[in-house]
Symmetry: C2
Subunit: 343 residues, 2 copies
Amino acid sequence: MSKAAYKRRDSVLKIIVSEYIATATPVASEAILRHHSLGVSPATIRNDMASLEEEGYIARPYTSSGGVPLDKGYRFYVETISGHAALPGEDQKRIRRLLDTAVDEYDTLLKIAANTMARLVGNVAIVTFPKSAECKFKHIELVEMHQYMAMLVLILSNAVLRRQTLSFDESVRQEQLGEVALKFNREYAAQTRSQIAGKKLELTPLEKKVLGTISDVMASEDAIEYESSYLEGLRLMLGQPEFVQRERMLGILELMEAKGWLRNVIDWQVTEEGVKVIIGEENRETALHGLSLVFSNYGIPEQAQGTIGVIGPKRMDYSRAISAVNYISGLLSELVARVWRND
Amino acid sequence: MSKAAYKRRDSVLKIIVSEYIATATPVASEAILRHHSLGVSPATIRNDMASLEEEGYIARPYTSSGGVPLDKGYRFYVETISGHAALPGEDQKRIRRLLDTAVDEYDTLLKIAANTMARLVGNVAIVTFPKSAECKFKHIELVEMHQYMAMLVLILSNAVLRRQTLSFDESVRQEQLGEVALKFNREYAAQTRSQIAGKKLELTPLEKKVLGTISDVMASEDAIEYESSYLEGLRLMLGQPEFVQRERMLGILELMEAKGWLRNVIDWQVTEEGVKVIIGEENRETALHGLSLVFSNYGIPEQAQGTIGVIGPKRMDYSRAISAVNYISGLLSELVARVWRND
DNA sequence: TTTAGCACTCTCCACTTTAGACTGCTAATT
DNA sequence: AATTAGCAGTCTAAAGTGGAGAGTGCTAAA
């Protein structure tokens, strides 16, 4: 096969993928020529398609139908388009304005980010809270609820807020609680759980109790990976033709309601820069073999990192997804940096 | 029609409903006798069914098929069974143990409650956060993030926690922030937003800024009705045979992803005691006309009330749902009361 | 290497057929 | 007046049929 012929075959593959993404139906040789004149006849395209099939880029649902891309075909497509993608300027502006309105409210901000992205790509969007490797004590507050009970509010350095109630056998007054809080805030500022444990202080029974609770909360925070995250756009994704079979639809719902599924899905170890695309069987989780993922980390490495991404059928608009994830993750990084400037 | 005949007809209706709930297929006259011998022939049952149809309790999908209950039939069924329902002792124990483990962590507690109930009834369960009519200031905390930014943590009397970041034009130190917090905590304890606004104090520019933010947060808290709630068991409900039509499935997903839908669905005005059942077209929201709701309020009236309930197809196990909602709402009330004992 | 031409394959849709499930009605019975 | 047996009649669901149309694979020629 000549060099020019190879090039044409690659074009054919690209057209098949993009056409299939648009129509969700097998792409016929003549359909390819309808929209992109390649200066050759349908028969030539058919030969190319036969060759593409042989090498595992495309497949045909039945003996003589059009071609549909296989994972390898999608992969090729993604490689060739990535880099060129950028969100339209007006979208960028709109999104920036939208997120700016919520910049002071952390949770709302992330929720809006997820929602916006979901609608932008017509699929499921996920945003996790930023998380640091090992959380640090920032501040506690003890508030009396009633005589025998108080609420402990613990603020961690990654701006995570956790609360826990404490019951006492004896009556405790707000003043006492205030003193304990003051002492701990002075002694433990910016320390990790293990550092706090290492510090031997003289403690009253009340203080011991509070310290124990703090330690528990920090431990559970360290253990959590993705518990809290926002997931938006389920209805959009499930409206796609790939989910006409009820089985698939329910499978997805089941997966997403399961606890801790995200941990298996996103390879947390990977801290590479930039947008990553995972296609079909490249997914570790078998339930996701029919889907693709486009995601990126955001935030400040080693300090406060979260993940933002899109999940959709393999037949998703990768160009749009990549540019959306890229832009919004950048935006979030910016906003996170503003809060963390010098922590 | 004799008294005895009326009684039999009621039995027939009850059997039709319960049989339909179990099988999801129209109930034939002979099927009724298969499981419940009423001492009469199928022809008699048929006469009864004709009468039930005439009065709008049941309908037939086509000219000569079995009967399916209409809303009026379900309503009759619910009236006759309610009161007799109680969760099996072992379930009660299991659930109590489960919730006890999370009693100190408010959010987890509610999430577990929702999850448990969803699995108990095989449908969607919803639990909202307790909310009081007008929230009261309990405590604030100001934590320095960096020179020009601080985080405001506001604790309200209903144990709701809200945070917000504050940016300053000038550099601000933690000490200053601490003093502001101390002052506000002293002056504003247990006051509502309007009370705080009415109190005229000498304020520095910094204090004015903080007060403004507090006021904003409390205002938005007062405005929120059901923003935060846990919804579990979508996959269970959507697995039911009523959702084989994709349209319906997507309709439900759309409804549930919409913001503020819950407010329309649950009649918040109703503060009656006990479990309430809403069947099909009794729902205000048209998207829910095919579904039923079983819900109850929990918490302390006027002080901290939330809602817990089940959403499922009209063909749901009402007996189980009513007993589950009843039991779990009672349990939550108990746990809430423990925290609020004398607020 | 590309192309024209044609037989062949397979899907999709509409239509028909058939078996079986239930009822409604009528006339007889209690 | 209420109940029953019996049977004709109605309707569904599933399986089968046939034809149109889309699209390919192959062959032989350019």
